[in-house]
């Protein structure tokens, strides 16, 4: 058997290729980035001409994926959990229109917030949109599920949400791949009215979606992702998604045999759940993420049998693990020695030699002359400017919010109103905010930390490299007030002075700090070095 050693994320990419997709659409975001990267690197994607470049943001990605589906072909759209907030408009309405070619939306949640600003649970979105949600537990199951998800999507004529969490996405295991399917031929939607969501059509489409719900429930009842795994005893466990692994680990290592109901497909299989709960005296509900199902199963009147995150048997927040499951089952928690006191925290930091360091030095110097020291910022490597030794930025809320929050603060009279945003974040969601500021003639300084890449997620292509100046000018910022600087130590004084000038301008200024990410530059040097070496040999 040919075992491919794949991250969970990569298993999704492999499965989508083998399921015959014609395109993947995504914006990078931990822990989802490697899905798209796998497809971009895959030789078979080139042969079959699978479209795979990065999209500007998750909304443009999902809409393009829906368009490909409208044209009859299969498409995959990937994002991290908070990306689904950006794509929510398209997501909810794609459930109303339905799909033509198979459309799978793969969303990677990040419980414990390893690399995110919240731990929202995408299953809530799935229920909101009333579409099937699939949540496999292992890398192989992930692969198999994604292949089946495309058939399910085409079969039901609905998008399918694939939900996974950090641990499954970023853990490797051997995965056996199947023979690939052909791509669909171009076959545009025959009933385009269902995609014209004017009220008269939308009401019909919405009713159709509601009428399908019993069918969706029926499929959940018979899904291979939902099954009871052996064992006897009065205490049962309902294990959702990856929580199943932690439950099985605990039972096996402690020599216990309890009935476990594994759930990996939603809407919830109510019959299955009801009979499982009826046959147990106590039931532990183990969900990775929010207690979504637990809340539903308890209802308002409560069910005294149920234990889980809501009564403190499991922690309310953070990802699960086998240690927490053991404790929840009343077993003694094993542990090794404590961490010695001598161990200090080691938070992440900006790389040595990173241009953002020089940019923050200039910003701090220019801000120190002002009465207001608060700077709005955004999501990317430069968010590390919030920490020691810089303490240079004071907000990080959602993609693009630096620009619009600074605009709102300028409206309120804050002076200077300053935003720091990365090049990729600016093109993701900052441009429209800049347009608002230009239209309102705000006194505002937008600093773009331009390193030619989407650095935090590993250096993906940034969608407007080399065109930021023109974009800002096109949006309406006067050319005289767009400055491009190079963040280097030797330019410190000049950079500080240009910022001072921008802060004094009674209108919108854009200051672009442009220097290539040192990681990207080093990677390029290594690649060209290797190529030279290889060329030298031949």
């Amino acid at each position: 058997m040919n075992h491919n050693l794949l991250l969970g994320a990569e298993a999704i990419g492999a499965a989508a290729l083998d399921a015959g997709i014609s395109g993947v659409y995504a914006y990078p975001g931990t822990p989802s980035t490697e899905i798209t990267e796998f497809i971009q690197r895959a030789p078979e994607a080139g042969e079959n001409t699978v479209r795979s470049a990065w999209s500007a943001n998750e909304k443009t990605a999902l809409e393009a994926a829906l368009g490909m589906s409208f044209a009859g072909k299969r498409s995959l759209c990937c994002m991290k959990h908070v990306g689904l907030n950006v794509a929510a408009d398209a997501f909810i309405n794609a459930a109303i229109t339905g799909v033509n070619g198979g459309l799978v939306v793969a969303v990677a949640d990040d419980p414990s917030m390893h690399s995110s600003q919240n731990e929202q649970d995408s299953r809530v979105y799935g229920k909101f949109a009333m579409i099937p949600v699939l949540e496999p537990a292992s890398q192989q199951e992930l692969y198999d599920t994604v292949i089946d998800a495309f058939s399910l999507s085409e079969n039901l004529g609905l998008p399918v949400l694939l939900r996974l969490t950090t641990r499954l996405s970023h853990s490797r295991a051997g995965v056996v791949r199947r023979a690939g399917r052909e791509q669909n031929r171009l076959q545009p939607e025959r009933d385009p009215r269902r995609f014209v969501l004017i009220p008269s059509n939308a009401r019909l489409q919405y009713q159709k979606l509601l009428d399908m719900q019993p069918e969706l429930a029926k499929r959940s009842e018979s899904s291979p992702l939902n099954r009871i795994v052996g064992g006897t005893g009065k205490t049962g466990v309902i294990a959702f998604g990856i929580a199943f692994n932690y439950v099985m680990e605990t039972l096996e290592s402690r020599g216990l045999s309890l009935p476990v109901l594994k759930i990996g497909q939603y809407p919830l299989p109510e019959k299955m759940l009801r009979s499982f709960i009826d046959n147990c005296e106590n039931v532990l509900v183990a969900e990775e993420g929010y207690p979504v199902a637990e809340e539903y199963l308890r209802g308002l009147s409560g069910n005294p049998k149920l234990r889980g995150r809501l009564d403190g048997t499991l922690p309310r927040t953070g990802e699960l693990n086998a240690d927490l499951i053991a404790e929840a089952l009343g077993l003694e928690r094993k542990t090794g020695a404590r961490v010695p006191e001598v161990v200090a925290n080691r938070p992440p930091e900006l790389c040595r030699g990173c241009g953002h360091r020089d940019m923050f030095d200039a910003i701090n110097a220019a801000m120190s002359e002002q009465s207001n020291h608060q700077v709005f910022s955004d999501i990317g490597c430069y968010t590390l400017g919030a920490l020691q030794p810089f303490n240079a930025i004071h907000t990080c809320v959602d993609m693009g919010a630096a620009v619009t929050m600074a605009k709102g603060a300028a409206d309120a009279g804050m002076l200077p109103a300053v935003a720091v945003i990365g090049d990729s974040t600016f093109t993701h969601s900052g441009i429209t905010g800049l347009l608002d500021a230009v239209n309102d003639r705000n006194a505002l300084t937008i600093i773009i930390a331009d390193n030619d890449t989407t650095a935090m997620t590993g250096g993906q292509e940034s969608s407007a490299t080399g065109r930021l100046h023109n974009i800002c000018e096109g949006v309406g910022v006067s050319r005289r007030h767009i400055h491009t600087l190079v963040p280097l130590k030797k330019n410190f004084e000049k950079n500080r002075d240009v910022l001072r000038e921008a802060f004094a301008h009674d209108g919108v200024s854009v200051v672009i700090f442009h220097r290539e990410c040192i990681e990207t530059a080093a990677r390029k040097r290594r690649t060209t070095g290797r190529q030279k070496q290889e060329n030298g040999k031949s």
Partner: protein, 194 residues
């Protein structure tokens, strides 16, 4: 056969190349593996770890339960101590002695070494000076893998094949250098009789 290994280091030190060699050696030997790693923000100079599990049966959890690790393999000494709660009482610590100081409150090195000695069975490796002897500081990770290899449950030959497979596309010279580093590391526990 069941081995639970925690690989520890600082983002950017390249613990994933060690993981990749072990993964390849294990999977080519017919074992099942799961290997959880850290991507994202922590990779920027923060504490990073990888949970690596090898078995001849099913592996359920991607994470090693606390107290169940047979080996903590650290490329930085303070990072070795961070994962003691995962180390089994009869587990082994193999760590580089080279500190990576990117924080202002990095503790005195003697205190770290003392804490490692207190923690139980351990092997301290002068990774950077040994790597310099092989010709490149970048082979420190293969020195560490070699030093820890007796506790991985995998044979020398399998691990060396893993190195060949991982570094193969970088050319013969790089492969040879890493194999040399691995063997140099491997000879340390043999000499010390650990």
């Amino acid at each position: 056969m069941k081995k639970n290994i925690i690989l520890a280091g600082v983002g950017g030190q390249g613990i994933l190349s060690i993981a990749a060699v072990i993964d390849l050696a294990a999977i080519r030997s017919g074992y099942t593996i799961k290997q959880a790693e850290v991507h994202g923000m922590s990779q920027r100079g923060g504490a990073v770890q990888s949970h690596l599990r090898i078995s001849d049966g099913t592996i359920h959890s991607d994470l090693i339960p606390q107290g169940d690790a047979h080996l903590v393999l650290a490329v930085e000494p303070m990072e070795a101590l961070r994962y003691l709660p995962w180390l089994s009482p009869d587990g082994m610590i193999v760590t580089s002695v080279d500190p990576f100081k990117n924080i202002p409150d990095y503790p005195e090195e003697e205190r770290i070494v003392a804490a490692i000695r207190d923690a139980g069975a351990h092997l301290l490796v002068e990774a950077s000076s040994l790597a310099a002897e092989t010709g490149s500081p970048r082979t420190a990770n293969m020195i560490m893998l070699g030093a820890a290899s007796p506790w991985t449950g995998l044979g020398q030959e399998q691990l060396e094949d893993g190195i060949r497979e991982l570094f193969g596309r970088k050319g013969e010279a790089i492969v040879d250098m890493n194999i040399r580093a691995f063997r140099k590391g491997r000879s340390i526990p043999e000499k010390s009789g650990s």
